[in-house]
Point group: C2
Chain length 205, copies 2
DNA sequence: TAGATTGTTAATCGATTAACAATC
DNA sequence: TAGATTGTTAATCGATTAACAATC
């Protein structure tokens, strides 16, 4: 693997390649080419080759890429060749939907704790495990060594919860609250806000 | 407004500015500067000024931007100064969460139809309105003139539903299914896949 | 072998930043 | 006025594409 710094924009495309390759594997395909993969994900073949080649020589001239091998390599690069425990904060509708979501299985993640600050919800069960008191969040996350959290609390609460998560050692936050979070540079944040995504498209309508 | 083509990457930042400005307005602030706005959203002041200046001269030297005025202008540019009707396809957990989501109000969107292909779900109510039969999707969307859809169906069904949506005149799809969609260039797609977002961060852990 | 496809280089294209005159 | 901040230009930086030798 290349020791130089890989641009974040390339890292951002790798999960998309991974998802498409997994789909091909599920369909029983054994090999693919940058051309074919590119058609699936809507990215040029040249760019796919360039992206992949940042990490090693995983293809073969003439025949392309072994899907199984490239899958392994991408999982290793993205560190999803093992399962990450994830904490979820906010047991509202969105939190419930994420707890029940089947799409984390086989993609490297598992929700193992759910918190809410509403005392009436604490102790209730979602899909088998109990909602815990948000007051215990820092302590529980720190002692369990969890590095990834998903934030599905209302916007006004998001920053203060994020501060606690950072304090507890969380290094990656998937933020569903519609607000930009202020965190140290060592902590990564990804944003999911359906209104933002929709507004990105209405310009073109 | 500038007639030249605005890069998509700039369009993508405008909703983030809009969200931050709305928050400032809600907090009673009247004016802001590119510096201050930049600190809120994590973008350089120079870039914010450059982005905004693509569309006109909305600021004043010495005092910055009127928040109310810039909000109006951004809403106008993004065409969210009126409410768009949205169709939702897939009444699973995620679909339910989106129907109940409060975050579309005041941001330009309203879900007005929900479809599912499960005949047992058809006719059931979510938050006051009935789940409709997915067989009627094309017809209903076409006759209502809806241009925006949210897709919360399982991955294997997503492409064929997307084809029907395109056929029915939909021009913007917010896709929650974990698969890249193939659509004509005139149709915009935005992707929300929590596993993809998480995998984008694990590289750095 | 002949055909296909990689990995990589160089050229092009596009985005970001720094700096500052204009001006509120 | 003096200070602040915009809009814009030029310089820098970074990403994408095209092309092709290497080679399976």
């Amino acid at each position: 693997m290349n020791a130089e710094k890989i641009p974040d924009i390339i890292i951002g495309r790798l999960p998309v390649y991974l998802r498409a390759l997994q789909r091909m594997a599920d369909n029983g395909l054994k090999t693919t080419s940058s051309q074919e993969l590119g058609e699936h994900v809507g990215i040029s073949a040249a760019q796919i080759r360039k992206d992949i080649s940042q990490f090693g020589e995983f293809g073969k001239q003439g025949t392309g890429y072994s899907i199984a091998y490239l899958l392994d390599k991408l999982k290793e690069i993205l560190k999803v060749n093992h399962i990450w425990d994830v904490a979820l904060i906010g047991a509202g509708d969105m939190g419930h939907a994420l707890v029940r979501y089947q799409g984390f299985t086989n993609r490297g993640f598992k929700i193992v704790m759910v918190f809410d600050n509403n005392k009436e919800k604490v102790g209730q069960k979602i899909d088998g495990f109990s909602i815990e008191d948000a007051d215990k969040l820092a302590e529980r996350i720190k002692s369990s060594g969890i590095k990834i959290a998903m934030l599905t609390v209302p916007a006004p609460a998001a920053q203060s919860v994020a501060d606690k998560l950072v304090q507890a050692g969380v290094k990656a936050i998937l933020n569903y609250a519609p607000i930009s979070l202020n965190v140290p540079k060592s902590v990564k944040v990804q944003y999911i806000d359906p209104s933002i995504h929709l507004q990105r498209m209405t310009y073109y309508l």
